[in-house]
């Protein structure tokens, strides 16, 4: 019996796609799967040590408490704020809406530093409150679990706010009207209709907060005080040469993250339905005079709280190093901090390093992720689901764990085990950034490609275009918004990266974040802030560029 032509043709296309996916899968297995396996292998024999160490058990408990509490705090801020800004109109709404995104412009370490300047023992707000209330001692200490949750709430509510706002924008207004018309009061409408229908948005953002808080490193590291969490324990063990214990801690952290991921997916799956409508809810103007005044005042206050960290960084970046001691605000100002960054070799090197390494990683991400997304979205082949899962996997692994994995894999030249020596060289950080940003760029490009009509590429081929011409003239233009957005996001994340960097950097390739920490330790607050302001500026420029690119493609 002969195989029909169409069958043979299809299976050949499938074979081609599998063949094309093979190098991508190999790279993922080598840089994502193998490191995790190496960590688990390295952990063997050290689990008793972990179980019997009170500080490790405490760290696991703290990590989970902090993650859960951060989710609760972010929901408590993000959900009401999303409702307020999408459902009501009041003076100051547009300003508040713009300011609500500001915490996203703070790279992790920078946010922590700004909180130190504002709310630390010698922070501006702390001193103002102390003077105003004429207290003998500082009114609070910014350390411990409470402080960590405080800064997590500030930086992570943005996820909840963005997801729930998007959910509310798409929300079919007639569903609420139907509930009202059937006699439901405000509370019943919220609890029986609106909130259940927003569950996918709420669960999705809660998962993001959970993962970020669980793997969070900067806040516990800088002002955790005596609080132990898994991510800082890992670095401590590594620095104490207890690498086996570090591998156990890494495994526990990764397992916790994946367990959290599965738990949220399961919760989400229980509510599988499509609630998206054409939107159409109009914002209600707030009419009562007192409510308007109250809302406008609260909006102004919230905006102030949101913008203070950024202002503080900029202010301190002009402060003369060493002059700020007991005063509320720095007493002397100078532009020397900025000038130094670009003129002193020691200070310029980290900036050059960060830019070069993030560009290298991003270039790798774009090539790799466009190829992967193209195959995942437009082709059917065996291994497609595996590829899809593997490009998403690094997202579920905390940065510290990724770094430890690379440490366990790229630590010597031994081709028989597939190991290459990159640790201690320049290349280990670009590789770490590349791995961390694979999910980000892949998701952005896949998003764009999924919006493309799937018959476009076959149509181009049918008109006589070669495969390369069809890709170049049809597929890539369709993917461009995702490529641009993904590349900018990856670049921003890599330029400010701290968590994996602190595990893997060498003096030669130290990035900006490591230098900020070093300056902070030597009380050069001005220089540390100048670096931080530079990072914030870069983030804002990239965000504007992304928006500009998006609007031009409309």
């Amino acid at each position: 019996m002969t195989v029909p032509v169409w069958f043979g043709g299809r299976s050949r296309a499938e074979r081609m796609a599998t063949l094309a996916a093979l190098p991508l899968l190999l790279i993922l297995v080598w840089t994502v799967i193998y490191p995790n396996v190496a960590v688990i292998m390295g952990s063997v024999g050290h689990w008793r040590e972990f179980a019997e160490s009170p500080s490790d058990v405490e760290a696991l408990k703290n990590s989970i408490i902090i993650a859960v509490a951060s989710v609760a705090a972010s929901l408590a801020i993000g959900v009401p704020l999303a409702f307020l800004l999408t459902r009501f109109d009041f003076p100051g709404r547009t300003v508040l809406r713009a300011a609500a995104l500001l915490p996203a412009a703070l790279p992790p370490l920078v946010g922590v530093i700004s909180f130190l300047f504002l709310y630390g023992d010698t922070g501006v707000i702390t001193r103002v409150v102390q003077i105003a209330l004429r207290l003998k001692d500082v009114p609070w200490h910014l350390n411990g679990i409470g402080a960590i949750i405080f800064i997590h709430a500030y930086t992570m509510y943005v996820y909840v706010y963005l997801f729930v706002s998007a959910g509310l924008e798409r929300y079919e207004a007639s569903l609420d009207e139907a509930a009202i018309g059937l006699g439901a009061g405000t509370l019943r409408r919220l609890t029986r209709v609106t909130l259940p229908l927003l569950t996918p948005a709420i669960a999705g953002s809660a998962l993001l907060v959970f993962m970020s808080a669980l793997g969070s490193f900067s806040a516990p590291y800088v002002f955790g005080g005596g609080v132990r969490v898994l991510s800082t324990q890992i670095l401590n063990s590594k620095l104490n040469d207890a690498i086996g214990l570090a591998y156990v801690e890494t495994t526990v952290l990764a397992i916790s993250a994946v367990a959290g991921l599965l738990l949220f997916r399961w919760l989400e799956g229980k509510r599988a339905y499509v609630a998206a409508g054409k939107g159409g809810a109009s914002r209600q103007p707030v009419r009562s005079r007192w409510a308007r005044i109250g809302l406008a005042t609260s909006a102004a206050l919230i905006v102030l709280v949101l913008v203070l960290p950024h202002l503080m960084i900029v202010l301190v970046s002009f402060a003369k190093d060493g002059a700020w001691t007991t005063q509320v605000l720095p007493p002397e100002y100078t532009t020397h901090n900025y000038a130094g960054l670009f003129t002193e070799n020691q200070l310029w090197t980290p900036i050059r390093n960060s830019i070069v390494m993030s560009l290298l990683a991003t270039a790798g991400n774009v090539v790799f992720c466009v190829a992967g997304a193209y195959l995942i979205v437009t082709r059917k082949f065996s291994g497609r689901r595996l590829l899809e899962a593997l490009v998403a996997l690094p997202w579920a692994i905390p940065g510290t764990a990724i770094a430890l994995g690379l440490l366990a894999t790229f630590n010597k030249n031994d081709l028989s085990t597939g190991k290459v020596l990159l640790v201690g060289t320049f290349w280990i950080l670009p590789l770490a950034y590349f791995v961390r940003d694979i999910p980000l760029v892949s998701q952005a490009v896949e998003g764009s490609l999924k919006q493309m009509d799937p018959s476009l590429e076959p149509a181009a081929r049918g008109l006589g275009a070669s495969w390369w011409m069809a890709v170049r003239r049809v597929v890539l233009p369709a993917a461009r918004p995702g490529i641009v957005a993904g590349a900018l996001l990856a670049c921003v994340t890599a330029v400010g990266e701290f968590v994996a960097s602190i595990v893997l950097y060498t003096h030669g390739n130290r990035p900006i974040s490591i230098e900020i920490l070093a300056q902070l330790r030597s009380y050069a607050f001005g220089t540390a802030s100048a670096y931080s302001a530079l990072l914030i500026g870069l983030v804002l420029i990239m965000a504007l560029a992304a928006r500009f690119a998006e609007s031009r493609m409309q």
Partner: protein, 350 residues
Amino acid sequence: MSGSGAGLVVDSIVRVFSGQTAVDHVSFEVKPGELVALVGASGSGKTTTLRIVAGYEQADTGRVLYDGQDITRLGPSKRDFGMVFQHYALFPHMSVAENVAFGLEARGVSRSERMQRASAALDRVGLGGKGARMVQQLSGGEQQRVALARAAVIEPRLLLLDEPLSNLDPTLRQSTRDELRTTLKESKAPALFVTHDQDDAFAIADRIVLLSRGRVLQDGSPEDLYDRPATRDVAMFIGHATLIPARRTGDFATVSIAGAMHRVVLSSFTGIADGETGAVVLRPEAVEIARDDGGDQWSATVIARRFAGAQFVYRLRLDADIVFDVASRERIETGAAVAVRVTRPVPMVP
């Protein structure tokens, strides 16, 4: 209009959206047990009017009364009306029965009683036994009936329906019309529904309120609107009509076609004095292609032919550059000259 009438009284409501008058002094009534259709093209203000009646929009001026009580400022949850939304607005996270029972739940009806009443309501719309399904598992027509059951189960004082048939495919639409009228009549509640489709309105409504650019053009039975249109706009909107300039003489109208004067018998001539000019409303069923010499005949040219199953529909051009459609079982070639005559009295509009 007085506020003493039983049922719904809409009294001269006005609604302006950013300078555009969407509803312009609209008044009408829905009497107990009556099915009233608000008919109009998109942008005519019909949906805004319905939303003002439901309480989702506020009138800038004017009043809405029910059984003599002013409900203009009453919130939608306090009006005791049942609404069927255009896209049904069924809660996707609830089962069919939970959807139907929601209004009873809001009224504090016990769980066992509301499930019983919801299941009875589903029986009435022919969905008995489907209460446990999720709403997405139902077809469009079934979803429409769930929405109807959900609105009716609370025994509302008035049922409001926004384009109840617009989401159904044409074949389903035909059969659903009759079902809908039967269900609405059985429910005893008066109903007000919005549609852009005159066939829906004819099939379901006892009375039609025709809206255009926010104003009521005519308010009457379907027969009134068809046979006795009050204005050109009504005549153009209802039925497939061609308007021909004419002058009224008693019960007749005189039309001039290519210099020749013809007379047609009038069925109605509201608001046109003897000797005044206006237009006669020519519909396909009032005209036939003449096969003999009888009566007053007009000459015309066939410019197009369309096969419509039982007959052909011919597009004819009168000499006076007026085009209209006529049905005939005979086969005539395009370009042929034919004679037509008006076979029944026609309405005249100002």
